[in-house]
């Protein structure tokens, strides 16, 4: 038991100052997305968009992961990379999908964070801990391709990555390929 505790204690955000800046919804000045209170052990960025059906279908699963890991010192931040989605549209989206009050949200219209973590798809997750991105990719393997999905996921990559990081273990699959909408399209 003592050994496990020691390992957990070793997990930290270990933030150095980052040059990446994103927009908070309240319109105040740009913020560093990697900045967080000292007790936060990991940040999960969830790239999403308001009209991507696959992204939206993950809302209940993302809320579940959020409530599971928040008590363990994990911070979940929704990231909206589509410049056409303003704060009002994002607030409406968060209310409709019951994210409001549970998850933070950031706008990334310049794709600064997108590029920093290498995200390409909504929905896509990036988990930041120990000063680097430890996991980037799909939430789980439910969606295999457009029009091909499993009735239920059999591999829960994001959950397993967060659990591994908190336990001080290596992440089993640090990179996976999500299925969904292309962030590149939002840059046009």
């Amino acid at each position: 038991m003592g050994r496990v505790l020691a390992l957990i204690a070793a997990v930290a955000l270990a933030q150095a100052s980052s040059p990446v800046r994103v927009q908070p919804l309240d319109g105040s000045s740009l913020v560093d997305p990697f900045a967080a209170p000292a007790n936060v052990k990991a940040i999960v960025f969830l790239f999403t968009s308001t009209d991507c059906p696959i992204s939206n279908r993950y809302a209940p699963e993302l809320r579940r992961l959020n409530s599971l890991f928040v008590p363990q010192g994990v911070l979940f931040r929704l990231v909206y990379p589509n410049p056409a989605e303003d704060a009002t549209a994002i607030r409406q989206h968060m209310a409709a999908f019951s994210y409001a009050g549970a998850l933070q949200a950031l706008r990334d219209p310049e794709h600064a964070l997108v590029k920093a973590v290498g995200a390409t798809i909504t929905p896509e997750a990036a988990v930041y801990a120990n000063g680097r991105v430890r996991y980037r990719g799909r939430v789980d393997n439910r969606f295999v391709d457009f029009g091909v999905d499993r009735p239920a996921a059999t591999e829960h990559d994001l959950h397993d990555a967060i659990a591994a990081i908190l336990a001080g273990r290596p992440v089993p699959h640090p990179e996976t390929q999500p299925v969904g909408c292309y962030i590149a399209d939002f840059a046009r």
């Binding site: 009209d51 991507c52 059906p53 939206n56 279908r57 993950y58 809302a59 209940p60 699963e61 589509n82 056409a84 409709a96 999908f97 019951s98 295999v144 391709d145 457009f146 029009g147 091909v148 999905d149 499993r150 009735p151 239920a152 059999t154 909408c181 292309y182 590149a184 399209d185 939002f186 046009r188």
Partner: protein, 620 residues
């Protein structure tokens, strides 16, 4: 012989109507649960008259094959031009092939009617068209042509890819095609009657696909002739497709009422059927055309629409309130299609089996025109093929789907009906992948899969709607086809009975089929089981007695009828059939006594009086 004929015709008591009537239903099926005596009809259908001449191009697709080819050539020419632009190249393509769903208020999740909307999906459009996920058309583009077909040519797909790769340039707005206005109203015009759910259903935000069945009472006070049905999903974001049937019995309504929420989970009642051999259903972007008035279907009063919605949760709770518009005709139909069904209910796929095949075939005894086909299978099916082999050995493909997707259950309606001569063999071959490599497999790890209507079970049917040249041909087709489909249904019932051995309704239904197939022994076994399951039911003993007559086990039959009468002394059919047994046993006096009882119970029945008179004649 007279006894058996009378008796069998009276045997319509089981609460659950047999499913065989569904697969092939001539114009005017017998009612489900008659009261009192029923005597066998001559078997001649009511008169139907067929207009002479063969209809051409009854259902118009957006373009004839020639037109489609021309368009493809035009687009090929365009794709050869360097640097395609939105205005000149992409917009016309999207407008014609995608925008009927991808417009504001359409069934697609986002619109594609402006440059700003379209460029924000450029890479996605390139990928989903290359994978042929969009436009959603699972049939081989070479088949048909079918109504509502919007395939993209390879050249068009390359054009979309090149446009996305170039950064999705807008081009010169002067090149834009004239904008199209998409009507949000009923596509077939104002319906004569709109049927809605009394109460909307709320789809939960999470989980896998939901299949829910809604019984929607049709408020009509008389017989109507329906020439069109348009389905509006109410919430196109989550309603993926709709299977629609009509149920002349209260069976579906009872199932719906038994569930406190709107609709019910489970399977469509066997009494809910396609009406008079007409497909009903909806998939996004498809509206079935109005039928010619001579081809309408009959809608009796007190009939329910049965709508099975396939819904995909969106991530938030969704309100679903579909509406169905009905379009009536003043004149009765003069022609009735036949609904043929190929397929197997013996499906039994071992866990992990990657390549399981079923085949079926039927040779047409008459000339037909194929109007439409609808393949049906669940999540394990991989490729789905239907073929017509003509007497000269040449073949015509009915349908060919190399990557079956349960979610796109189109009715494929030939733009020009396919004429097939007598002696043509219709065949089907479906393959299934029950291995873990099939991501859609509903069981992980895979488990043995057998036939069944739940989406976790498997099915394999090819429905084929045909028109015959004459009523006599329809009758001949019916006679040839009925035993085949009844035999297949028996297999399905036996599978269901294995799962639900104490469901008396299943035993009753399969027993009816066995009787129809001239197999009294298994019929007796199932009615016996049914009577044991519901010993207080007079009908159960009556049915058993009736089947025993078919096996010439007259003493046992008499005992069964007496048990039915002990439970219900006023059971006229039981008196009648007991009388027939007694007559056959030479116990004429006792028979007359029973016939008198029938007349007493049913003083208005001519048939009862005739039976009594015939019996009295014997002792003279």
């Amino acid at each position: 012989m007279r006894i058996i004929a009378t008796v069998v015709a009276a045997l319509l008591i089981p609460s659950q109507a047999p499913s065989v009537a569904q697969a092939f239903r001539p114009a005017h099926p017998a009612a489900g649960s008659p009261e009192g005596l029923r005597y066998r009809e001559s078997g001649t259908p009511e008169g139907r008259y067929r207009a002479s001449g063969s209809p051409e191009g009854r259902y118009r697709a957006s373009g004839s094959p020639e037109a489609l080819r021309r368009e493809s050539e035009t687009f090929s020419a365009r794709s050869a031009v360097a640097s395609p632009t939105y205005a000149r190249d992409v917009a016309p393509l999207i407008q014609e092939r995608c925008a009927m769903c991808h417009h504001d208020g359409g069934s697609a999740p986002f619109g594609l009617t402006s440059y700003s909307e379209t460029k924000r999906h450029a890479a996605q459009i390139a990928v989903v068209t290359r994978k042929r996920f969009m436009p959603p058309w699972k049939a081989d583009p070479g088949d048909g042509p079918f109504a509502g077909q919007h395939p993209l040519s390879e050249a068009e797909i390359h054009l979309l890819q090149a446009w996305a790769d170039d950064g999705a340039p807008e081009g010169d707005p002067h090149d834009l095609p004239p904008p199209r206005v998409w009507s949000e109203g009923w596509q077939l015009g104002t319906p004569d009657l709109v049927v809605t759910l009394p109460q909307a259903y709320t789809l939960p935000p999470d989980g896998t696909d939901v299949f829910r069945i809604f019984a929607m009472p049709i408020p009509t006070d008389r017989l109507r002739y329906v020439r069109g049905l348009e389905f509006r999903p109410g919430n196109a974001r989550v309603v993926h497709h709709a299977n629609i049937r009509v149920d002349p019995t209260p069976a579906s309504r009872k199932l719906d009422d038994a569930d406190p929420e709107p609709g019910y989970d489970g399977v469509i009642a066997r009494s809910a059927d396609y009406p008079d051999g007409h497909f009903l259903g909806w998939t996004p972007g498809q509206v079935s055309p109005l039928l010619p008035t001579d081809l309408s279907w009959r809608l009796e009063k007190n009939t329910d629409l049965v709508v099975e919605l396939h819904m995909q949760p969106s991530g938030k709770p969704e309100r679903v309130a579909p509406a169905v518009g009905l379009y009536f005709s003043d004149v009765p139909p003069t022609r009735t299609p036949a609904m043929l069904r190929l397929g197997r209910q013996s499906i039994d796929i071992a866990a992990g089996e990657p390549h399981y095949t079923i085949t079926d075939a039927f040779t047409l005894p008459v000339d037909v025109e194929v109007e439409a086909v609808q393949p049906h299978a669940h999540y394990r099916a991989r490729d789905v093929r239907g073929l017509a082999t003509l007497p000269d050995g040449s073949t015509r493909r009915l349908i060919d789907i190399a990557d079956w997707d349960f979610r796109w259950q189109h009715v494929y309606r030939f733009v020009t009906p396919l004429t097939l001569p007598k002696g043509t063999t219709l065949s089907m071959q479906y393959t299934y992948d029950n291995s873990p490599a099939n991501a859609r497999n509903p069981q992980q790890p895979p488990a043995r899969a057998r036939w069944g209507q739940r989406s976790s079970d498997e099915m394999g049917d090819l429905w084929i709607q045909v028109l015959t040249r004459t009523d006599a041909d329809l009758e001949a087709l019916s006679r040839a086809f009925r035993p085949k489909v009844a035999a297949e249904d028996v297999i399905g019932y036996e599978v269901e009975i294995e799962k639900h051995p104490d469901d008396a309704g299943l035993h009753d239904s399969v027993a009816m089929l066995y009787l129809e197939l001239g197999r009294p022994q298994p019929a007796i076994a199932h009615f016996d089981r049914s009577a044991a399951l519901k010993p207080q039911s007079p009908q159960a003993h009556y049915n058993l007695g009736t089947a025993l007559i078919g096996a010439r086990r007259l003493d046992e039959a008499a005992a069964a009828f007496r048990e039915a009468l002990r439970l219900d002394p006023s059971y006229a059919n039981a008196h009648n059939n007991l009388a027939n047994v007694l007559l056959a046993q030479g116990r004429t006096d006792e028979a007359i006594q029973e016939f008198r009882e029938v007349v007493r119970l049913q003083p208005d029945s001519d048939a009862a009086r005739k039976n009594l008179a015939a019996a009295l004649q014997r002792i003279k």
